[in-house]
């Protein structure tokens, strides 16, 4: 009884992840499927695959400035934000992982509360603050606003990686006559290169997926692709095919790097604590 049951359940265990993956891929397939259809075909006959595959939807996006500028705007503020977040987070994470100082624990906790804070709370004050500085509808406004959750995220992730580097390495380097900046740039940064990659990736991702603040702080010049898409949703007589193609294109940055970060995804979401 026991000997029969055990191998059977193990032989069938691959079914569980397989079914789950099919469930994950179905909606994505549907979006890709729609993106290759004419809107008339989407609304007309119900079909499981495009009968007259067309690239028209993608052509619309790549030729219409109101669409492709959304991508460019998103990429500009996301890259700005990633660079700012990781740059300021590096020394701070080093301080948290190596030293004890006045109020360090409170500070570390306070950073976490910002990562956990609902962006909805900040939407209105951000709008007023950036209006006062004349920053509304600029890329830098969104980039700084996203620092609210990305800087704490980067600090926590980097601190997790840095704590894995033995402190003896620092001490040996100082004894060998390295100054702090030289040690940091030459020895320490290469040691935690994967950590920096993971932190940068997650900053990129969380800034890329955020809609609420990006939409609140922009009107036309810096309008992100996410906002362009929701505008189309609320308009009447919308072009489903183009919307689907736009969605597919926003998935691509994540899909491109997913293989390289596959072992770090859990770690990144858990703020470097796994």
């Amino acid at each position: 009884m026991m000997t029969n049951k055990q191998p059977l359940s193990q032989r069938l265990s691959w079914l569980v992840p397989t079914i789950y993956i099919v469930f994950l891929l179905l909606p994505i397939y549907w979006l890709v499927n729609m993106s290759f259809k004419e809107t008339s075909e989407i609304l007309g006959a119900f079909s499981l695959w495009p009968e007259n595959p067309t690239l028209r939807n993608y052509r619309v996006i790549f030729t219409d400035p109101s669409w492709y500028s959304g991508y460019i705007n998103s990429i500009i503020y996301v890259v700005l934000n990633t660079v700012i977040s990781v740059t300021v987070a590096l020394p701070a994470a080093y301080a948290f992982s190596r030293y004890r100082f006045l109020g360090d624990k409170h500070l570390f906790f306070w950073l976490l509360t910002n990562r956990m804070a609902p962006p909805a709370v900040f939407a209105l004050p951000f709008f007023q603050l950036y209006s006062a500085f004349g920053l509304i509808d600029t890329h830098i406004a969104v980039a700084i606003a996203h620092c609210l959750f990305n800087v704490p995220l980067a600090v926590w992730i980097l601190e997790g990686f840095m704590s894995g580097v033995p402190k003896e390495i620092d001490e040996t380097a100082y004894i060998d006559g390295y100054s702090f900046p030289r040690f940091f740039a030459r020895i320490f940064v290469p040691l935690i290169a994967s950590g920096i990659g993971v932190a940068a990736f997650f900053c990129f991702m969380f800034s890329w997926v955020e809609l609420l603040l990006a939409r609140t702080l922009t009107t036309t010049d810096a309008k992100p692709i996410a906002a362009t898409m929701t505008r189309t949703v609320s308009a009447s007589g919308l072009d489903w095919g183009v919307l689907a193609a736009a969605g597919v294109l926003t998935i691509i940055p994540g899909a491109l790097v997913i293989y390289f970060v596959r072992n770090y995804i859990a770690k990144g979401f858990a703020l470097g604590r796994v």
């Binding site: 300021v88 030293y99 939407a123 929701t230 489903w240 997913i258 596959r262 979401f269």
Partner: protein, 288 residues
């Protein structure tokens, strides 16, 4: 790791402090300011004390939205955590299956939230969506635009689709850290599948499960983009969660006082949750 006491470390933290102060402290102070004042326009403000807080705390609107939030979080935790454990337990431990599973499962996590909303908005539509079409063809009356229960079901399936992978990946990270020797010992003892799970795998997953639970709870408690895109808070108010309601109040109705008071209350709840999260993280860090 033994850390040395060095107050000069403050200089390294300074850039972060300045930046986060600009993007968090100043805006938060504005909110506090609004929450205790009233205006008749023209930028003339006067002291309103705790009036707005009492208004919010006495309004059904707040309690309804909070209740919806808590019910939503409870349902998705009850589904995602057990489901995530089951899937992680059945994932391949080695071979070509591992990267395939990891890559495909992580895919929904990296899709922009508004696109997740769009995907499900389309997928669930009765006329053009695979899900809506199939369900209707099976003879079930389903329309998430008009029926509150269908809207809830759609949002819950969407969240399960979007976030269960996070629980899976975290649990998997806990599982692969168990040495083979443990399983061999269990085999020699003739342990059942259940006792292997109960006495070897579950204890090893305790920490990651706690993290998964807290992260999922907090993120579902702040959910905004997906319901905003899929249902817009409707039909009626049936899917108006705290975030959705807050944005409606602050930016849509420009009702500064109550919106600010609601923000502060919301923030205090999050602060409490963060503190639990922090305590869990640091105590389990200390345990190794």
């Amino acid at each position: 790791m033994e850390k040395t006491w060095n107050n000069k470390a403050w200089f390294m933290v300074l850039p972060v402090l300045v930046l986060v102060a600009f993007s968090a402290v100043i805006p938060l102070m504005t909110v506090v300011n609004y929450s205790v004042q009233d205006t008749f326009g023209n930028n003339a403000f006067f002291w309103a004390g705790t009036d707005w807080f009492l208004d919010v705390l006495e309004s059904d609107r707040f309690w309804d939205a909070l209740t919806r939030n808590l019910i939503f979080s409870a349902i998705i935790l009850a589904i995602e955590i057990p489901l995530g454990i089951v899937i992680a337990l059945n994932m391949p431990k080695r071979g070509i299956g591992v990267p395939i599973c990891l890559v495909l499962m992580a895919l929904p996590l990296l899709i922009p939230w508004n696109v997740v909303g769009t995907i499900w908005q389309v997928f669930g539509r009765v006329d053009i969506g695979l899900l809506g079409h199939t369900v209707t063809a099976l003879g079930i009356d389903y329309n998430y635009v008009q029926n509150p229960i269908d809207a809830w079901v759609t949002l819950i399936i969407m969240d399960v689709w979007h976030w269960t992978s996070l629980v899976v990946l975290l649990c998997y990270a806990g599982l692969v850290s168990i040495p083979d020797a443990y399983y061999q010992a269990a085999k020699i003892d003739g342990a059942s599948r259940w006792s292997v799970f109960r006495y070897i795998q579950l204890p090893k997953m305790k920490r990651v499960l706690l993290i998964a639970f807290l992260l999922r709870f907090m993120d579902s408690f702040m959910i905004y983009t997906e319901p905003f895109v899929v249902t817009g808070g409707g039909p009626g108010n049936s899917t108006t969660f705290l975030s959705v309601d807050l944005v409606k109040m602050a930016i849509g109705e420009f009702n500064l006082g109550p919106a600010a008071a609601l923000s502060i209350i919301y923030f205090l709840i999050i602060l409490l949750l963060s503190w639990i999260f922090y305590t869990v993280m640091t105590t389990s860090d200390a345990q190794g």
